[in-house]
Symmetry: C2
Subunit: 210 residues, 2 copies
């Protein structure tokens, strides 16, 4: 018998294992080819199983993609959520940058999956962007504006400040090939994340202090 929606029904050991393997493979494939550019066969091969067997666990290609995006979005919002209104403002922003940079380093495929989805018009997560993400950004923008009005950091547009942090940090995951092409043969390529952190901290500390 076919398993039902993974969430409501209790799942067997094999089911849990294979779903993990499949999602891991799907992440690999989707993140490098985008949704439409990926085939179920590719994912099945990466997962070491036949296509019909894979489709026994995820009945549609879209189901895998959606499962990945759902899982991703929670982790994606976490670093910003941690930004603390009671912390030292500049330090809070630096900590946020470091967390984001660490995520780009540790989860580059997730970053690319997200980038692919957005690039292609966010057809599968537009409503989360307009909902959860927007609300979180609104909240943290208020927080930043409060820091500004209390004279803790320089006046600036909080949303664009957040955009610039997203851009600079995710860039190291999404554009990794380009960065490696440019830094190749430089001895500092292995330290690109430390160098990036240093550069960005300097930029934001000096750019935001009163």
């Amino acid at each position: 018998m076919k398993p039902r929606a993974a969430s409501t029904q209790r799942r067997t050991r094999i089911q849990k294992e294979n779903e993990q393997i499949i999602l891991e493979s799907a992440l690999e494939v989707f993140s490098t080819n985008g949704f439409r550019g990926s085939t179920v066969d590719q994912i099945a091969k990466a997962a070491g199983m036949s296509k019909p067997n894979l489709l026994y666990y995820f009945r549609r290609k879209e189901d895998m993609h959606q499962a990945l995006l759902d899982r991703l979005l929670t982790n994606w919002l976490a670093p910003l959520e941690e930004m603390d209104a009671d912390g030292e403002p500049i330090e809070e922003i630096c900590k946020y940058i470091r967390r984001k940079l660490q995520m780009a380093q540790e989860y580059p495929r997730e970053s690319r999956l997200f980038a692919n989805e957005i690039l292609q018009g966010a057809p599968h997560i537009k409503q989360q962007l307009e909902g959860a993400l927007r609300n979180l950004v609104d909240e943290k923008s208020g927080l930043i504006e409060n820091w500004i009005s209390r004279g803790k950091i320089a006046k600036c547009n909080p949303r664009h400040l957040i955009f610039s942090i997203w851009a600079t940090t995710q860039h190291y995951a999404d554009f990794d090939v380009q960065i490696c092409a440019i830094l190749a043969e430089e001895e500092r390529i292995e330290m690109r994340f430390e160098d990036a952190a240093k550069m960005l901290e300097q930029l934001y500390v000096d750019g935001l202090k009163i």
Copy 2:
């Protein structure tokens, strides 16, 4: 008779016209779906002609893609090339940011085409990245290092400085959907490029001045 490689042979009026129309349509389709996610039929339909007719001008799907990338790379390097060693350093960097931001605004599809290509591992332009792009970045990094050693701007890693400018400016083209989702219902959404310019200039002016 089939036309040969467009560059060497003289081309008719119709040929020139249709190649333009096709490349315009291909840009539209490739930039939103990526290479593998786009179909020749989609492009043909967008160009208002039949698939075999389109294939008369570009014998392979890849040829259109390559033609677009080739054309793109020249324009892509231009803004950085204009960075002038004899100019006022901070002002030169600000001008570079403004040019890049303007390109993101005027040519978002080109930016997305490029982003898609890089995201997917740059299979079609890796050698240009390691050649022309790398050389240009090397040259301009030297220039920036010179500014630093002459005490004109704060010490920083020139390559990562350039990366951060690429990231922040291209972000407004590549992640436009996300930005619009977040800024929606804000009255300032129409001014997002002006707001971005202001934010970024502040960041880089204060972040780089001695």
